[in-house]
Amino acid sequence: MRVCVIGNSHIAALKLGWDASVAADPAAWADVKPTFFGAPSDGMRHVKLEDGFIIPKRKDIAEHFQRMSAGQDKIRLADYDGFFLVGLNVSVKRILRFYKTHAWVGLSADAEKTLVHPQFVQEFLTERYGSTRLVELATMIRSVVSTPIVAMAEPHWASWIRQGQAGTADYGWDEAIVAGDAVQIGAAFLQSVTAALAPYATLVPQPPETVQDGIMTAAAYNKDASRLISGEGGGTDAAHMNAAFGQAIWPLVRQALQVQL
């Protein structure tokens, strides 16, 4: 199965996890052949669809493609049996920003927030996630191919960031967890992203064993991620995950793709 993996920086954990999986049991993964394409941050916004190819509109993005795919500066969609989209600006942070001003019936009471109907939350968040690069790219690919497309969101941030850290934005993780709302927020996240992707792709949720408090990633899956991915030390990166996280993802991705083949 030829799998085209497209994403932003979160693709790094998938690459580390892939290498670790193959090293641990080469025979188990012999039928899967991933090719990685990506660009940091929102770099994947700078591509276009042309004659069945996804083509970078910027030179630096093309260089990223070449480096990650071992030589290809564009993606020929017909070359793959399935697509795996990673991250691409879909994260629980959007709901947490909404949660700072709004709540829905079923969450804890807070007179400072506007209370809305759960159906509104579902429709609003589906609309919001529908405007992300993840969904846009799924739409773009689906307009050309009928092969399976699966997607995963950016991982929840590592649990140790919950209490805040100098220089890091407070997205309200701790407030949501302390209020007892985090698990419902995590569920609303999965529901709305699934709905936003539904016409084009299938969401692979973050593996349950990696999730903590509904909206965080257990610290073990973030350990050494900053050193492995960017070469930095000191554990300053709570957003990116390590090889163990990637290893937990791959069986779910393969299963989701095989179901649709």
Partner: protein, 366 residues
């Protein structure tokens, strides 16, 4: 901080008076007729105590009735429903049969149908939802300095069980057992009485409040337009009787024109002026001599010197201002009712102060 009174079993929510609200609030509005939207379109900031999230699309906001008024309270449009909302928000009175069932069996609020497309699985959830909405309305009443009340209806659907008036319900809605809604046309006296009760309730909650009545609805048939005539009479009567009430039929006309596609920029400017408490005459004072001069020229009459007329106008305006001050100082009856003969036009000082400055400037150079 004040405690909002809840019904038994309802989660208690504390309401904080919000000093940060914009000065103007609008109670009532929907997709067909939203005075709040009209006023926003001329650049006015309108309070919104149940706002949509910032990133929402217009389509979705309209589907869930965000932004049509300062709270998601439905169209309202008649004094009885506005009074009921204020009474419910202040804990004075609650309807008996406000919980109804949607066709799918979920529970909905009959006092504001259509606010959300679907209901709640349990009555307890709906009670929390309504209680929070009423707390937001109370916050609005306490926090604004001007409350605009759009009026467009002279009839309502009355529940004989407790006299509560409900808006029309969606097809398939199952009303509560014992609730039978009968259409009732309000008599003028009834509307005035309702307003007197409403006025007392609002001034109790917010003694500094100014209430601005608006009678307009551009999407009306002939019968409804006849009703608007009655509403205008009631509004004018209430404005004459109560000190903190303003009604200007010119604003009605301007708001109607404002709702048309691509409204005239002059309409925008006039609405801004009136909502700021200005006097419409300020805008036409310059235009009048020009028209008169054109008419005179057409008839071959030589243009006279304007000096005597300007002098007479200034003297007249000074006399009117002096009368206005006297009326403010001693013209109010007990209970906020106005003395007979008091000027019921725009009472705020913004426009008048500017005119006074202009007069003094002209006199200084005369």
């Amino acid at each position: 901080m004040i405690e909002h009174q809840n019904e038994p079993g309802v989660v208690s929510r504390r309401v904080r008076k919000d000093a940060g609200l914009p000065a103007v609030g609008v109670l009532g509005g929907d997709a067909v007729w939203s005075v709040a939207a009209c006023l926003r379109s001329v650049g006015l900031k309108i309070a919104d105590v149940e706002p949509a999230p910032k990133q929402i699309s217009e389509t979705l906001a309209a589907r869930f009735q965000f932004g049509f008024a300062s709270a998601r309270c439905g169209a309202l449009g008649d004094l009885r429903q506005i009074l009921q909302l204020v009474q419910a928000a202040t804990g004075v009175r609650q309807p008996k049969h406000w919980i109804c069932a949607a066709p799918d069996g979920s529970f909905m609020d009959a006092t504001r149908p259509g606010i959300d497309p679907s209901g709640f699985a349990s009555k307890a959830e709906l009670v929390v939802y309504r209680d929070t909405h009423l707390a937001a309305v109370l916050k609005l009443l306490q926090g604004v300095t001007t409350l605009v009340l759009p009026l467009s209806k002279v009839m309502g659907l009355v529940d004989a069980a407790d006299g509560w008036v409900y808006p029309a319900q969606a097809a398939g809605t199952k009303l509560a057992r014992g609730c039978k809604l009968e259409p009732t046309v309000y008599a003028a006296d009834t509307m005035v009485d309702d307003f007197a009760t409403l006025y007392a309730a609002l001034i109790t909650v917010n003694p500094a409040l100014t209430i601005r009545l608006v009678v307009a609805d551009p999407a009306q048939d002939l019968a409804a337009m006849a009703g608007q005539g009655l509403l205008r009479a009631v509004a004018a009567h209430c404005a004459a009787r109560f000190s903190a009430v303003v009604y200007d039929p010119v604003l009605d006309m301007l708001l109607t024109r404002l709702s048309l596609p691509e409204p005239d920029a002059r309409v925008v400017a006039l609405v801004q002026k009136l909502m700021a408490g200005g006097d419409l005459l300020d805008a036409v004072a310059v235009a009048k001599p020009e028209v008169a001069a054109m008419e005179d020229a057409e008839m071959g009459i030589p243009a006279p010197s304007d000096a005597p007329r300007e002098k007479r106008d200034r003297a007249q305006r000074r006399a009117e201002r002096a009368n206005g001050k006297a009326g403010k100082a001693g013209g109010e009856k007990a209970g906020g009712e106005k003395a007979v003969g008091e000027n019921t036009g725009a009472k705020k000082s913004g426009g008048g102060s500017r005119v006074m400055c202009e007069d003094e400037l002209l006199e200084a150079f005369s």
